[in-house]
């Protein structure tokens, strides 16, 4: 029996101890009429058979050159990261409820909190949320709780924020009658302007969300936007790409007072693309609103002998203590992936992360030049970007992308799916993993698709 160690003899002697005749007897409190019948599922197979099946299926999706970003990025992941993360002691531990038997996990989380707080220049971080999109929902809920000056259940959300995040967040918060109010973007710059916000001045909103870079890769005027929001009684929720923080001003330093909450998708920090998960959402905030933060938080303390140690803290915010009054229902988070990011950040350091960011940025610029050198291809927006770019094609982006895919190049995403007005537009990125040959191959393939 797969994974069950019992021998016939074991079973017999255990049943004897219990004082029943058969395993079935142990289920005698269950009404007979609801006992399960045979399942119509495949018979069990061996590890060997399954590994072959999985290898064949994985191979079917392989050997592509991927230029899709849109919130999930192909970065080099040092071999050490997942080798260490896959150690049984990290991989197969539960939540560190018994602190003394979980100092490894606990210290890792404390270091993770430090990394994220220092990267974002915020005061504190939690121990991870599920992912970027659901993290934005938590941030909105948190802002509504935390903004004592506002009674609003509305949050301003520029359309330049990742549409998948907006969709996810909406689906989560709408059950509490919370509204995410769209703010349109400047068609030329691809950014959120103060003009477009003017109309909301005087109205009560709990928060303004600002994505930097935004979904188009475009850089927002985060300082002005932050100050505007604060001036209008809103908190600022920053949505940031952690890789970018090696180069870009961190949320904690936006404008006069800095953002109040910073969230984002942790995937770029050592987490494989892996079809979208497990990733992790990070959330950081100002110290004064830490008690509104969702999720686990680890604190440093001492033991009976005065020795440094780590433990779960501020648990009174959490569901297992506060139940219906908790800051969130989150329990299981993304611990292992968060551990991977902690090792990744240690391996890269601030300087290494800068090099990654620079090289991604340069590759995307390079590719942008190559692609726009093709007749009829142009960049869609005129403002500075970080490591991602939108181009407009002289043909339907959906069909061009399909043809590129046949050449095993995943050229980006069809923006018109999310923004009907951005017809023929493609959002792409070229990270540090791409060589010049890769970029040229994309250019050639696109040229030939467009020529055909």
């Amino acid at each position: 029996m797969p994974y069950i160690p019992h021998t016939d003899e074991d079973v017999k002697s255990m049943l004897d101890t219990i004082g029943v005749d058969s395993i079935d007897d142990l289920f005698d409190e269950i009404p007979k009429d609801i006992l399960a019948k045979n399942f119509d599922i495949p018979e069990g197979i061996s590890e060997m058979e399954m590994m072959r099946l999985m290898s064949e299926r994985a191979a079917a999706d392989s050997n592509v050159s991927c230029f899709i970003g849109a919130g999930a990025y192909e970065h080099h992941i040092p071999a050490a990261v997942w080798d260490v993360v896959s150690r049984g002691e990290f991989l197969t531990a539960y939540t560190p409820y018994q602190a003394e038997a979980s100092q490894g996990t606990l210290q890792v989380i404390y270091e993770y909190q430090t990394n994220m707080a220092n990267l974002t220049a915020m005061d504190v971080s939690n121990a991870s949320l599920y992912d970027g999109g659901s993290g934005m929902a938590e941030a909105a809920l948190m802002a509504i709780r935390a903004n004592r000056k506002s009674k609003s259940r509305k949050v301003l959300v520029p359309r330049t924020v990742n549409p998948l995040y907006r969709d996810t967040a909406h689906n989560i918060v709408n059950n509490q009658n919370i509204e995410l109010v769209d703010v349109d973007f400047d068609k030329q710059g691809g950014n959120t302007t103060l003009e477009s916000l003017k109309q909301y001045e005087g109205e009560d909103f709990a928060a303004l969300i600002i994505a930097q870079p935004n979904f188009f890769g475009v850089l927002e005027e985060v300082n002005e936007l932050t100050d505007w929001a604060h001036a209008n009684g809103m908190l600022v929720i920053a949505v940031v790409n952690p890789t970018s923080l090696a180069l870009l001003a961190p949320p904690g330093e936006w404008g006069e007072a800095g953002a109040d909450i910073a969230i984002g998708e942790g995937q770029p920090l050592g987490v494989p693309l892996s079809s979208g998960g497990p990733y992790f959402g990070f959330i950081c905030c100002k110290q004064k609103i830490v008690r509104q933060m969702p999720g686990r938080i680890i604190g440093r303390t001492v033991d009976m002998e005065g020795k440094e140690g780590f433990t779960l803290t501020l648990q009174a915010r959490e569901q297992h203590i506060r139940r219906s009054k908790a800051t969130s229902n989150i329990c299981t988070n993304q611990g292992l992936v968060m551990t991977a990011s902690t090792i990744y950040v240690a391996l890269l350091g601030a300087d290494g992360l800068s090099l990654v960011a620079e090289n991604c940025h340069e590759n995307t610029n390079q590719l942008s030049k190559l692609l726009t050198s093709i007749d009829g291809v142009e960049t869609a927006f005129d403002r500075p970007v970080f490591h991602e770019q939108v181009i407009r094609l002289p043909a339907s982006s959906a069909s061009v992308l399909e043809k590129l895919a046949e050449a095993r190049i995943q050229g980006g995403i069809d923006l018109s799916t999310y923004y009907p007005e951005l017809e023929n537009c493609v959002l792409f990125c070229a990270t540090e993993t791409k060589t010049n040959d890769d970029l040229v191959a994309y250019q050639k393939a696109l040229a030939s698709v467009l020529a055909s």
């Binding site: 029996m1 994974y3 069950i4 255990m14 004082g19 029943v20 395993i23 142990l26 289920f27 409190e29 399942f39 119509d40 999985m54 299926r57 079917a60 999706d61 899709i68 040092p78 260490v84 049984g88 990290f90 531990a93 539960y94 018994q98 003394e100 100092q103 404390y110 270091e111 220092n118 599920y130 059950n175 005027e221 300082n223 180069l247 870009l248 001003a249 693309l273 497990p278 830490v290 680890i298 001492v302 033991d303 020795k307 140690g309 959490e318 569901q319 297992h320 219906s324 908790a326 229902n329 299981t332 391996l347 890269l348 300087d351 992360l353 090099l355 610029n365 500075p384 992308l401 995943q410």
Partner: protein, 489 residues
Amino acid sequence: MLIYEKSQAGRRSISQAPLTSTKVSDIPEGLLRKKKAALAEVSEMQVVRHYTNLSRRNFSIDTQFYPLGSCTMKYNPRGAHKSAMIPGFLGRHPLAPESQSQGFLSCMYDLQEILKEVTGMKGVSLTPMAGAQGEFAGVAMIRAYHDSREDFERTEILIPSAAHGTNPATAVMCGYKVREIPVDKNGDVDLAALKEAVGPETAGLMMTNPSTCGVFERSIKEIASTVHDAGGLLYYDGANLNAILGKVCPGDMGFDVMHMNLHKTFATPHGGGGPGAGPIGVGDRLLPYMPTPIVGKDSVDGKDVYRWLDEKDIPQTIGRLSTYMGNAGVLLRAYYYARLLGREGMHRVAEYSTLNANYMMKRCENAGFELAYPGRRATHEFIITLSSQAKNLGVNAMDFAKRLLDYGYHAPTTYFPLLVPECWLIEPTETESPDELDGFVEAMIKIQKESEENAEMVKAAPYNQTVRRLDDVKAARELDLKWSPAQES
């Protein structure tokens, strides 16, 4: 020592970043970072050594028996991990075109089908990222159901008092009020109280069966009809699915919607806190509301072709709850587990986890420990109460737990469910051999003896861990939530 304390300005793991720098000149000064982030500057070996040594400060399934009740700490097959780490799976972008995703999509489709079959539900969506998000999806669907019938009066979710904290927290996140239903002294829902509570405001009842008391809710069908008759729906918290997998299907007990903690019942690693995966299964009534994305299968020229189902296919969906496809890698691991177990293995999960729990319960009872529900069968877990030890010897459930660590066993869940005083919720799971269970009970007996002879010693446990008992009060009072360069120098 923290990694930052091993840091030296200018040190780097050279080989891990690109070797050449390309100065960025096209970003306005005002948007750039001014001071580099205070992160560790260390060598690759320092990193490997630091985190390898940290890992050694953990208990885990791979190193210890870990009978943490409600958490189902069973063996996490190494093959599942390996198969999810095949480069082709790791490298697939979540927005890759369907034509280049058939391998991944077929795994997801197959998993949906298996989960449907073993839960007796009509539809499965894999996307929720943990149990709590599965609950959220479920309750949000209940809401969508009532809303679609313009039944806006239903504002309450009923929850037994022994329920896990995520249940009430979830109900609130879905905009509901929570009404607690008491649990009687046998661990069953107080039927009378339930009957009194249900009514036109009842949107639904969230419960798990077996309950968190480790006993099977015998009146489940009556509970179901009570709620259904009042127009409410029945939510199954799948955290305890391991107790019944292969023996009873939640669908057959009358549940309308449920989540499964794949990181429990389907043996995906818990990773020191996560990730999990909390797929939901629904009965007929909630099919139209399932969260996206879901994988569908078409037949094109006699060949199976898989594709994403979204708003177009499920117009009443509650929508996506994650940026992409939830914890896809966890789902691959669960799929591996499901296929290895297969038809026969699936039935054995409940059988052997129940056998182990009843055996341990009997041994505990024989050793003089007090069972919370002595007349009842254990399910996959059971509760003992140490309240007499607390009263007579001054050694409480936490002291006992800490001392157990010294014997090399992870402690059971303590103080949950809250209604049993000084309780231990013990869940051995089916993958442990009887020798391991015996060893645990013997350690308990030793601690009992130690408590009788030298309570002070037990109360100051643990002794063999990397730290002694930690000061939680200080941790909460003098918040120290991150290292910062200033603080240390």
